[in-house]
């Protein structure tokens, strides 16, 4: 019984974090059709903000808010620096600039902060544990689960119940036309980046809370996870990203619990092969996004 509870909590807390990561990416990737390689660096920015403010004596919650704000700011900067100037040009150009921007931020952290891991302040509650039905679990995991549910609902509301979602897709597919209908396309696209940055900031706090330190390359893993989750779940659908996140957590946790030691080393190979298989079977991912308007 304790084992089962442990398993469920592991899946849910990991899945919640994964789903948030994926959601932040799918807003850019699924809706704007831009692959944002610099997404992981927003998480890094949140981490470094926490580190830089840690000596200030501010209450932790203020530092956390500042971290999220900085992630939002850098999300918007990403738009200005890497996307806006090349958006109209070519898909490859966009890909390369975002890759370059990611490199830029990482190396700026190396240059201006330090190549070495830096500690981030964590509230007392992050290192406390509770026992649920015999399974000992860090409270942090429960916070992750709660945060993911709240934020998923909030984003779903924003995209479903307001014209924002439609306006984002319109601005992304035909920028000038969107403006000619009165849609403030630049603002809309920047707001998508801001939203993505917001999610990255929250994920950053939760994710870095697991590790306790921040290094320039800290965003790499969340980026990969977000990528896979998005692909599995459906590249163009918000619920898809969420489903993909939880599914990936389920797969990872199951493999963790069941794979023998020798095979476990190849876990990533299994996971990614699965990604390839899913894409071959359903190039759109498990959950189809809104129908596409391609025709001959």
């Amino acid at each position: 019984m304790a084992f089962a509870i442990q398993f469920v909590i592991d899946v849910l807390s990991l899945g919640g974090a994964y789903a948030l990561m994926a959601l932040g990416l799918v807003i850019i990737y699924g809706i704007l059709r831009l692959v944002n390689f610099a997404y992981g660096e927003l998480i890094m920015v949140a981490g470094y903000t926490m580190f830089l403010t840690s000596g200030s004596g501010l209450p932790w919650i203020i530092m956390a808010v500042l971290a999220v704000v900085m992630a939002i700011v850098f999300g918007i900067i990403t738009d200005y620096a890497a996307f806006r100037p090349v958006r109209a040009k070519s898909v490859t150009a966009v890909l390369i600039t975002s890759f370059a921007f990611s490199n830029l931020l990482q190396n700026a952290a190396l240059l201006f902060i330090s190549p070495r891991p830096r500690n981030v302040p964590l509230p007392e509650i992050f290192s406390e544990t509770v026992s649920i039905g015999g399974a000992i679990t860090p409270v942090r995991n429960l916070i992750t689960i709660a945060a993911s549910i709240v934020l998923l609902a909030a984003v779903a509301f924003l995209m479903r119940k307001t014209t924002l979602g439609i306006a984002m897709r319109a601005a992304a597919t035909n920028f000038t036309m969107a403006r000619m209908l009165g849609v403030p396309a630049n603002l809309i696209i920047s707001s998508a980046f801001a939203l993505s940055g917001f999610l990255a900031g929250v994920v950053g706090i939760l994710w870095i809370g697991r590790i306790g330190t921040v290094v320039p390359g800290v965003g790499m893993e969340p980026l990969l996870i977000a990528f896979i989750a998005t692909v599995i779940g459906g590249m163009r659908s918000l619920p898809g990203a969420v489903v993909g996140g939880f599914l990936l957590a389920l797969i990872d946790t199951t493999l963790n619990y069941s794979l023998s030691q020798d095979l476990l080393k190849f876990r990533d190979a299994f996971t990614f092969s699965l990604v390839i298989v899913i894409l071959l079977w359903r190039p759109e991912g498990l959950i189809k996004g809104p129908a596409s308007g391609q025709r001959t």
Partner: protein
């Protein structure tokens, strides 16, 4: 067709200049940089054969390079070294020791075979799905290299490869690869593939078998990557799987895209340009570090400047320096124009 010969001639001349020039200077470091550049050239031009002609971004290229490097390593590390360098190697392979040239060919072939087997189903995909599957393929290849201790010594540094790659060998291989890439581009497969790059639906409506065309290009690219990997392995002589991952992928994709993915000229130009920029920046960084003695080290400046340059190039010339036409083509056109106006 005539301009293709001219292009080949010019590009081979560039390779010669790099090679001979680095020797004339007589500085060992330049020799090393030049050799490195020529090896990168092999890889970037190899990537161009697939990416340029099919228009699909491929992240897996470096993975095949790694495959080649490890294959050649296992085949050439002296038997008495293997106990130390590859402690977990399968027994029957411990006695194998072939000449690096044979091993290089084997590396290319193995990479091509692996590519042929794993890539066929992937070639149906386009756009984002294909970018991400190739990304996934890179991670799979990397994970395997990182964990298959018997063959690669796991994440640890593999050493003991005989140092057989020098500047002339690299130059010869680079020249051959450039010619192969140009021939492939003008071949029937190449032309049809380029048509599919521009418009998949229209190309299919003409009767082009797109997945099959892509598959052929992918195998060729993997073959070249395998050769390039072996070449590199015998130059560097010790390396770990990390050498075949994102950073390097980024570098060769950057070289190709800045030069212009659609042309072999672009691949060559991008490689030369980025290598020079990279080395120049690195030595500047070194110089800065030497002066600010004791003060904070300047780290990552090279990458920052390079990233900024890349963003700038993408904004100004999104198709790269040679977006559509090979150098030979540009020259013949310019000459013809002058004749007609004169």
């Amino acid at each position: 067709m005539k301009h293709a010969y001219l292009t080949a001639l010019i590009l081979i001349a560039v390779i010669l200049i790099i090679g001979v020039g680095s020797q004339l200077l007589g500085i060992r470091l330049y020799d090393r940089i030049a050799t490195n550049l020529l090896i990168s050239l092999v890889l970037v031009v190899g990537l161009q054969t697939f990416m340029g002609n099919s228009g699909l971004l491929s992240f897996a290229h470096i993975g095949f390079m790694g495959l080649g490097a490890y294959t050649s390593a296992v085949l050439t590390i002296p038997a008495q070294m293997k106990g130390m360098a590859l402690p977990d190697l399968y027994d029957f392979m411990k006695v194998v020791e072939v000449s690096p040239l044979v091993a290089m060919l084997a590396a290319g072939i193995l990479a091509a075979v692996v590519a042929a087997v794993v890539a066929y189903p992937l070639m149906r995909l386009s756009d984002a799905a294909s970018v991400i599957t190739s990304f996934a393929l890179l991670v799979v290849l990397y994970t395997i290299m990182n964990n298959w201790s018997a063959f690669t010594n796991g994440p640890r540094t593999l050493f003991g490869l005989p140092k057989t790659t020098d500047m002339p060998i690299a130059a010869i291989v680079a020249a051959i690869v450039v010619v192969v890439a140009l021939l492939f581009k003008e071949s029937r497969t190449g032309k049809l593939l380029r048509a599919s790059r521009e418009d998949e639906v229209a190309a299919a409506a003409l009767g082009a078998n797109i997945p099959h065309l892509r598959w052929r290009a992918f195998i060729l690219a993997a073959f070249i990557a395998g050769i390039g990997g072996a070449l590199w392995g015998h130059f560097i002589t010790s390396f770990a799987p990390k050498a075949f991952y994102l950073k390097e992928t980024f570098l060769i994709v950057t070289m190709l895209v800045i030069g212009g993915a659609n042309t072999v000229t672009g691949a060559v130009a991008g490689t030369v340009l980025i290598t020079i920029a990279y080395e120049g920046l690195r030595s500047t960084e070194g110089a800065i570090n030497a002066t600010s003695f004791g003060a904070g080290q300047v780290i990552g400046l090279t990458e920052i400047v390079l990233a900024l340059a890349m963003i700038a190039v993408m904004i100004l010339k999104p198709g790269g320096l040679f977006p559509n036409r090979e150098i030979g083509h540009i020259i013949t056109r310019a000459r013809r124009k002058k004749e007609t106006t004169a």
